[in-house]
């Protein structure tokens, strides 16, 4: 990424950051679809559906927690970062540890 117009650069970076979150959503959706299809198959064919429902519920719950945490952290950090960019012209050299 070349050092060009700061506003364009900022938008590209923001786009990539949002894409990271969207990629995770796609992945989580894929996992949930897989679980759903496995449950569906077991119910339709009467192949121990209780096994399938219990196990996929546990995994779904874990993924819901992870997705919630990621959404919360990503959105807050990105929003705050954008706010700082608007106020002071960029996050660069402002991070404090």
């Amino acid at each position: 990424m070349k050092e060009g117009d700061p506003s364009v650069r900022g938008k590209v970076i923001l786009g990539l950051q949002i894409s990271l979150l969207l990629c995770f959503y796609m992945f989580a959706l894929g996992v949930l679809t897989f679980l759903g299809s496995a449950v569906y198959r077991s119910v339709v064919s009467g192949d121990h559906p209780v096994h399938a429902v219990v196990l996929s519920s546990v995994i779904t719950f874990a993924f819901l927690i992870i997705t919630t945490v990621m959404t919360m952290v990503f959105t807050v950090i990105i929003k705050e970062g954008q706010k700082r960019i608007r106020e002071k012209g960029g996050p660069v050299n402002e991070s404090k540890i």
Partner: protein, 453 residues
Amino acid sequence: MEALRPNEELGRGQNTERIADEILYQPIMKTGKGFYVTFAGLSLVVLFALFAYYRQFSIGLGVTGLNSPIFWGIYITNFVFFIGVSHAGTLISAILRISKAEWRRSITRSAEVITVLVLFFGLGNILIDLGRIDRLLIVIMHGRFQSPLLWDVVSLTTYLTASSFYLYLPLIPDIALLRDRMPPGFRKSLYEVLALGWVGTEKQIHYLEKGISIMAVTVLPIAVSVHTVVSYVFSMTVQPMWHSTIFGPYFVAGAIFSGIAGIIVAMAVLRRVYHLEGYFRDIHFNYLGILLLVMTCLWLYFTFCEYITVFYGNEPLEMSVFMEKFTGKYAPHFWVMVLTCFVIPFTLLANSKTRTVTGTVIASISVNIGMWLERFTIVVPTLMNPRLPYERGIYSATWVEWAILLGCFALFTMIYMVFTKLFPIVSLWEVQEGREKAHGEVTERLLTYLPPS
């Protein structure tokens, strides 16, 4: 997380703190000749492993020592071993973080990286064992929840996802620091994206702290369930010496055991290569050494319980597996396992004079060798003595399997090296937070433990 809080008045004073941690930036900013030489050497090993895998892929699993009835060998041993080592980071880091163990601060990152990386190798070995990778699609398209193999697939996916985020979240403030000091270029852009615009506002700190805490609590049951489920692949069958009720906890204990040993070895290498004596101090090795000693005793206890039950039961097929391990073809593996998993580590770690950095590292290497052998002696001897009337077989791994095993270790080391070149291997903000805040916190906590005077 005081260290993350923006403090406009701190000004130059904060730079003094940064200089104290300058050595942590060195591996990222500069790359020496040694790195390239080591990387090239490891690349050769990986290329050899790729050639071996190409032969297996083009000719078939016939190039391995696998055959009926021994259809699982080194690859499955690797799978169980790597998943075990993966417990290093997440589990230990999460436990230390939740229990507010202050000495965790400089070691958590190096442990969390191990977790995420070795999980890929664990999963990779399953794919290698399948022979044809496209068979994975069969699991996805037609998998049944009745099968423990599918439990493995879903629990490992969840664990890998949770561990990756558990590694990434505490990395964000450190990535922001790198973003700020990196000259323009690809790496700066990479850090800009991954830092998510971190500037350390009150709100960002609050939510990141909350996120890390939730993930630390979430990842613990997931990590325990993963190795329990790995053990179920064996114990849910009625094969001799696999069908055991203690396999779940036995595997989890073994995983933590090999995980701690893995962290110690990684810390020792990093300390030596990057001169991080100030961060990976003798006290860290001492504490981890004590933890390893506890796990050594726990491992012996579980192993004793497992074998005494089989011996006392005296069931013919179980006894044939038992004797195969004690006096048969796999006796060398078994007794070396006992030596390396108990005798050597216990001797070194039980004595405070030998529980030095060197002693702890030797014990850890020994434990890792022993735990690999343990997985091997669980997998192979049972398959040699199946309940069904198959012809008995003998398993000898071929050069293809050994090459792939070596390739796994080499590739893991390479990726770990690359990680240390991209991100700080010690959590900068956690160390600094420790300097600024931990002293007061510990004193305050101590007062809550003691009766009022």
